[in-house]
């Protein structure tokens, strides 16, 4: 049996009387790209927020990297990188300041060196003094990804990372995710694009808070008769 990075059972979240996530089990094997597939409003964001400790589940139990998702959220936060759906770095800070801030929050050593490395890798070293708010959508997203993997997390959670991004940038992002996965990082990515789902190793398909089907990508596609629009 493969080792699990995320292992949660009966995860449930209600907002008032509305059940947003209903009794969902998620098992993500280490080093895999795990797709979180479903239409808008199906509870993908809420689930991801519960996995990284931003929301407290109303019911359920489980572990993330061996840490309890109810009690040890602070430990989880240190080892997880979470990229929000909407660009959520600071518009009024420069690119460099954003990266430096993140490095410091994660308590990294040699912050200025690591920042420079990250900026070079991004290809943004010449624009490091530009404020993040003035970047284009694609660049913002690349900056966010770079900042999220800065502390070399064991799990990367991405919430619809390609929303509002052009096809070329989308392809580049997925190539990058592939490389990170080969290096051993566990990746959980939510999407509602079929072609992106096909690039995942395993898929879970949820709609309106309920789990519809899970399994390897091919299994899910076969069972649900989902097709790529090409």
């Amino acid at each position: 049996m493969t080792e699990l990075a995320i292992d949660v059972k009966r995860l449930t979240k209600k907002f008032g009387s509305r059940i947003v996530v209903n009794n969902i089990d998620i098992q993500v094997p280490k080093g895999k790209i795990y797709g979180f597939f479903g239409p808008n409003g199906s509870g993908k964001t809420t689930t991801i927020r519960m996995l990284c400790g931003l929301l407290t589940p109303d019911a359920g139990e489980g572990t993330c990297l061996g840490y309890d998702i109810m009690a040890q959220t602070q430990m989880i936060r240190k080892k997880v990188g979470y990229m929000t759906q909407k660009f959520s770095f600071w518009d009024d800070l420069t690119i460099q300041e954003n990266v430096e801030f993140t490095a410091n929050i994660f308590g990294m050593d040699h912050v200025s060196e690591r920042t420079r490395e990250a900026l070079v890798k991004l290809g943004l070293q010449h624009r490091s003094d530009q404020s993040a708010g003035t970047l284009s959508g694609g660049w913002k997203q690349r900056l966010a990804l770079a900042a999220c993997i800065l502390h070399q997390p064991e799990i990367l959670l991405l919430d619809e990372p390609t929303a509002g991004v052009d096809p070329k940038a989308r392809r580049e992002l997925w190539d990058e995710l592939g490389r990170l996965s080969e290096d051993g990082m566990t990746i959980l990515v939510s999407t509602h694009y079929m072609d992106e789902a096909e690039r995942c190793h395993e898929l879970i398909y949820i709609a309106y808070g309920n789990l519809i089907v899970r399994g390897s990508t091919q299994q899910v596609i076969d069972q649900t008769h989902l097709k790529t629009l090409e």
Binding site: R49, C52, G53, L54, L55, T56, T73, Q74, R77, K78, V80, Y82, T84, K86, F87, S88, F89, W90, D91, T102, I105, F106, G107
Partner: protein
């Protein structure tokens, strides 16, 4: 395109629906005029009454007893202390426990009967000049009336002569009666409310509004770290602002600081903390920056009206005083005036300092309970 009433109706309807759903704005719009009207109509008393007064009577006769009763009944003064002198009255004034001390000298009655001039001494805390001018007039009228009424029978013949007394006024702390002496110490407080409550609540709600809070909270940070991180810059800004105001007050308006400067800054620091705590509280309650701004105005308005900053605190009706006692600025105004104008020391301001401490502790504890590092 012709003007369409259908479209207009739809537009108005949309605005009404949005307004109805924005409960905070709606409540504010309804409450603000009511609150303002109440404050101006009832609480703010430009003609104050029942101002706390101490009496020193060196002459115990039917006339002086009657005079004290007269002071008591006329409504302007409220005799809260009867002291025997010995500098006791100075302390009461400095602590702000009384606004006035009325001293009836030895042989006052005898002198009045003999037709020799005798002077009543009115010592006044003149940091608030409006209250003083009223007191002089009131004392004059009361004394004249009491004397004419009491002089009857064999002494009746004295009635027709002008009453043989005068009033000596000693204006303590602000002899020239400058209004700015009264305003400036409190103004530091008002500025600190702006910085603390308003300017702190905005960046915090901005984080929530822009979604950067979600990012911040997904990182390994402690709530206390976020709080201290947000607050610290404003502590320095507040101290700097106070320094600027004091500097301008000293060199442009010649308003001195009689008391200990480090004691004053210690109290300023405490008041800054208090406002930062309030600002933080606002930001946890407000959904966006506009709401935060509205809530800060709600803090600011009663601070201006009900704290003795602009209008004499003791002149307000009891219920308004009770509200005022819950507002931090009330205590800060007394402390700042005490230290700056009266040279008050720690033991003098302590009665006003401990409620301020208490407010800071209560709000901070409450906030630590309320503030979570999740999005729940």
């Amino acid at each position: 395109m012709l003007f369409s009433f259908q479209r207009l109706k739809a537009l108005i309807n949309k605005e009404l629906i949005q307004l109805k759903r924005d409960r905070a704005t709606l409540a504010m719009m309804i409450m603000l005029p009511i609150v303002q009207l109440m404050l101006f109509g009832y609480a703010i008393n430009m003609d104050p009454k029942h101002l706390p007064t101490a009496v020193i009577s060196r002459n115990n006769t039917f006339l002086t007893r009657s005079l004290i009763t007269g002071l008591q009944n006329a409504g302007y003064f409220k005799i809260t202390q009867t002291v025997s002198g010995d500098k006791q009255e100075e302390r009461l004034l400095r602590q702000g426990r009384v606004l006035f001390v009325v001293m009836i000298p030895d042989n006052f009655t005898q002198n009045v009967i003999r037709g020799q001039k005798s002077a009543l001494l009115l010592q006044a805390d003149a940091t608030d000049p409006t209250a003083v001018s009223g007191a002089v007039g009131a004392l004059n009228t009361i004394a004249a009336k009491v004397i004419t009424t009491e002089l009857k029978g064999a002494l009746g013949f004295l009635k027709n002569a002008a009453p043989a007394f005068s009033i000596d006024v000693q204006k303590a702390y602000n002899p020239e009666g400058f209004t700015r002496y009264n305003i400036v110490p409190g103004l530091i407080g008002i500025i600190l409310i702006f910085t603390g409550a308003m300017m702190t609540s905005l960046p915090l709600t901005r984080e929530q509004e822009r979604g950067t809070m979600e990012n911040l909270l997904s990182m390994p940070v402690q709530p206390l770290e976020v709080m201290i991180g947000k607050i610290t810059p404003f502590i320095f800004i507040g101290l700097f602002q106070s320094l600027v105001v004091l500097f301008i007050a000293r060199f442009l308006f010649s308003i001195p600081v009689f008391g200990n400067l480090s004691l004053l800054f210690g109290c300023i620091l405490l008041f800054i903390l208090c406002n930062l705590a309030i600002g933080f509280l606002i930001s946890t309650a407000a959904k966006n920056q506009t709401q935060a701004l509205q809530m800060s105005v709600f803090v600011l308005l009663p601070s201006i009206m009900l704290t003795g900053f602009m209008f004499p605190f003791q002149g307000m009706p009891q219920w308004a005083q009770n509200i005022g006692r819950m507002i931090p600025l009330t205590y800060f105004v007394r402390i700042a005036r005490g230290i700056m104008l009266k040279g008050a020391e720690l033991q003098d301001i302590w009665p006003h300092l401990y409620p301020l401490d208490l407010i800071v502790i209560v709000i901070t504890l409450f906030m630590l309970r309320v503030y979570q590092n999740t999005l729940d």
